[in-house]
């Protein structure tokens, strides 16, 4: 019983990891140009121009935009790329 219980908890933990995606959030800063941020979104995230512009405007007006959501490893790679372009980006685990 107890062994089964342990296994069940591990499975639950793994499921939680899978169920809770990681969000990539880009934050506003006064320095990065709007055209530059749009270009970076197109390059790094593969957004078409209108979607990239929409997210850029969301960053500009609301202070942040969730630009990608999914598994942690890929989210980290995206944040690393965004930091390479000197954008303010963070990883946040989505709430259940």
């Amino acid at each position: 019983m107890s062994e089964t219980g342990v296994i069940t908890r591990k499975q639950t933990s793994t499921e939680e990891e899978l169920d809770c995606p990681w969000n990539v959030v880009v934050h506003n800063d006064p320095v990065n140009l709007m055209s530059y941020v749009t270009m970076v979104f197109r390059r790094v995230l593969g957004f078409p121009r209108d979607k990239a512009t929409r997210h850029m405007l969301e960053v500009h007006h609301k202070g942040r935009s969730l630009v990608w959501s999914g598994e942690r490893e890929r989210a980290e790679a995206i944040v690393e790329q965004l930091h390479g372009y000197l954008l303010l980006a963070t990883l946040e685990q989505a709430e259940r």
Partner: protein, 159 residues
């Protein structure tokens, strides 16, 4: 100052005012003063206090790559700027198309650093009056605006 295609694989800045020529020459050095802007150039990847191990991994594995990328961009720009030409036809600079990304990166480093060094705020940067060039702060603001203008031109060029 004009920015135009120079050849199939290069761009040219021409009719550069001497003041802007000196700001171009200053760019690699301005982009290398990382000390005061470290927190902005290498931001925390995760705001959650619970993710201490991620922060440590980031410092160990990601940050060195970013430092290398930023240094490499500055070196490319340094080499290009060394070829700045001053002649009877005016000051001009040829930038290979393959170097545009390095320029964008170095310009951004310099702008972020100058903003941090001078504690410029959003209203300072949005202020449309010409900066007071009799002050160090005014000259710094001019640099931020000039590098931003150049960045706009390059973003347009790379599409």
């Amino acid at each position: 100052m004009r920015f135009r295609r120079h050849s199939a694989d290069s761009w040219e800045l021409c009719d550069i005012h001497p003041l802007f020529g000196s700001l171009l020459e200053e760019l690699p050095q301005a982009a290398s003063r990382h000390k005061k802007a470290r927190g902005r150039l290498y931001p925390d990847p995760c705001p959650s206090e619970a993710e201490k191990s991620m922060r440590r991994d980031w410092e160990d594995h990601v940050r060195p790559g970013l430092e290398q990328l930023f240094a490499s961009s500055r070196e490319i720009v340094q080499r290009d700027v060394a070829a700045l030409s001053r002649s009877g036809e005016g000051t001009r600079l040829v930038i290979p198309a393959g170097h545009l990304d390095a320029w964008l990166n170095a310009l951004n480093q310099a702008r972020l650093i100058i903003v941090e060094e001078n504690n410029f705020t959003e209203p300072d940067l949005d202020h449309r009056e010409p900066p007071d060039l009799a002050t160090r702060r005014g000259v710094a603001l001019l640099k931020v605006h000039f590098y931003a203008h150049l960045q706009e031109l390059l973003v347009e060029a790379v599409g």
